[in-house]
């Protein structure tokens, strides 16, 4: 990106105004701030700017000529200041560093320190080298084939989802008992009265008899007392019938004394009488 604004002139290219390259900033010429901003903002930071200046002037990073680089760098920073670009703070830190290196290079060194003295440019040179390596890495990354830009992941349609069986939830018997207890506990809190628990076998027989009556509208009383279940079974059936009658769920009909007793659902009984 920055290479686009890097012609080989020694002078600073400030930009292009109406197709004409602007080499030096003439005092009398008005340069649209937008054009300058565009150039200055194309740098990703002070390191980018510094590297650009070095590369543009074909300078050697390792043997960094601090004086000209600092001068050029400061020219750019001055322009940024004038334009009040937000990045200026980071650029000023670099400016201060360049100024410090420059002053240390200019200071006469005591002969005793000569051997231990480290080149004040060393740290900056190291950072520039690392930054240049990373810029290269960023370029490599950009060139790699990228998903959604150069290549697209493809899928095939499938009818396989139709084969997926939605599993039904599993329920443990103990969970059912717990749920009942919870519901009843809730009922006690709600009603403040004892909820009686009735005999299960009777309730089940009630269900069975009702179910039976769904299929067969009229049933002989005797048919419901299945002797194969023994005495207990007969008792349960009898109790269930009494309970159903009490709850008015069934109609018990005896045409005359000692005649056959028939059971029917209440709805059925009504239907018969109205017919």
């Amino acid at each position: 990106m920055t290479e686009q604004v890097a012609p080989q002139q020694q002078s600073l290219p400030l930009g292009f105004v109406r197709g004409e390259p602007v080499i030096e900033k003439p005092e009398d010429l008005y340069i649209p701030p937008d054009a300058l901003e565009l150039i200055l903002e194309s740098f990703s930071g002070p390191m980018d700017l510094l590297l650009y200046l070095i590369r543009r002037d074909k300078l050697d990073i390792v043997d960094l000529p601090i004086l000209p680089v600092t001068k050029q760098y400061m020219t750019y920073v001055e322009m940024m200041k004038e334009l009040k670009l937000e990045l200026a703070a980071d650029y000023l830190v670099m400016a201060a560093m360049l100024a410090e290196i420059k002053s240390r290079l200019l200071l006469p060194r005591p002969p005793a320190d000569e051997e231990d003295e480290i080149d004040p440019r060393a740290e900056l040179v190291r950072r520039l080298q690392e930054y240049e390596a990373i810029r290269q890495g960023a370029g490599h990354l950009d060139e790699l084939p990228q998903e959604g830009r150069d290549l697209f992941v493809v899928h095939a349609e499938t009818d396989a989802k139709a084969h997926v069986e939605q599993p039904l939830p599993d329920v443990a018997l103990a969970d059912l008992a717990v749920a009942f207890a919870q519901a009843m506990a809730q009922a006690q809190l709600l009603n403040h009265h004892q909820v009686q628990r009735e005999k299960l076998s009777t309730r089940e027989r009630m269900s069975r008899i009702l179910d039976f009556l769904q299929q067969q509208p009229r049933v002989r009383f005797a048919d419901l007392l299945v002797t194969s279940e023994g005495k207990a079974g007969v008792v349960v059936s009898f109790l269930a019938i009494l309970e159903l009658a009490k709850e008015a769920l069934i109609e018990v009909v005896q045409v005359e004394a000692f005649s056959e007793i028939h059971l029917s659902t209440r709805g059925e009984a009504y239907a018969t009488t109205t017919a």
């Binding site: 899928h155 084969h163 939605q166 008992a177 006690q188 809190l189 628990r197 089940e204 269900s207």
Partner: protein
């Protein structure tokens, strides 16, 4: 354009497109990129691709709106495993409703609502009936003739029960607040007595 490149492009296009692509859409796409391709050329390439994929795990299929790649029908069963989910869990509301029907049958929706203190959603009743655990066994002859629900033999089979008397005794309900403790205990004791009475 070379035949080889055209084929690669059409193949990739059909794979990448979000919906099936027809011949005209493919021709239009090339046109939009300044490449002139005839319908006949596209049709030829598609026919070639169809034969290329004849024996593969996926195939180029022509459907109503165009061409798309899809897996061979025979492989569906084993591929389906990719989406197999863990069974979900039933809600507390459903469990309590089922429990009330099991322990208190035959029972109306109104009865369940009275105990639970909240209305029973139709979805719950539908789920229980679809599962084959619950069915309507009659009506209570009161105004509105509410349906009476009872458990089925499928229910007994699922829970491995011979009959309802094998339903477990009611455990002590988890104490919701300390002051309900004694009441709950009292009830459990009573329940246990009844249980032993009802045993044949």
């Amino acid at each position: 354009m070379q035949q080889q490149q055209l084929k690669q492009l059409i193949e990739a296009l059909v794979f990448v497109a979000e919906a099936p692509m027809n011949v005209q859409q493919i021709v239009d796409h090339f046109l939009a990129h300044g490449r002139d391709v005839s319908r006949q050329q596209v049709r030829n390439v598609l026919a070639e691709l169809q034969s290329d994929y004849q024996e593969r795990g996926i195939q180029l299929q022509q459907v109503a709106s165009g061409y798309r790649f899809q897996t061979r029908a025979e492989l569906g069963g084993i591929i389906a495993g990719l989406w197999q989910e863990k069974p979900p869990r039933y809600s507390q509301a459903l469990m309590e409703t089922l429990a009330l029907i099991a322990y208190r049958q035959p029972i109306t929706r109104g009865d369940i609502e009275e105990v639970r203190g909240v209305s029973v959603s139709s979805q719950i009743m539908k789920t229980l009936q679809e599962r084959g655990w619950v069915k309507v066994v009659g009506h209570r002859e009161v105004p509105g003739r509410p349906q009476l629900y009872a458990t089925t033999s499928t229910f007994l089979d699922y829970f491995n029960l011979t009959d309802l008397s094998e339903l477990p005794a009611i455990p002590e309900p988890p104490a919701k607040a300390s002051n309900t403790g004694p009441v709950a205990q009292e009830k459990t004791a009573e329940t246990a007595t009844e249980e032993s009475e009802s045993a044949p």
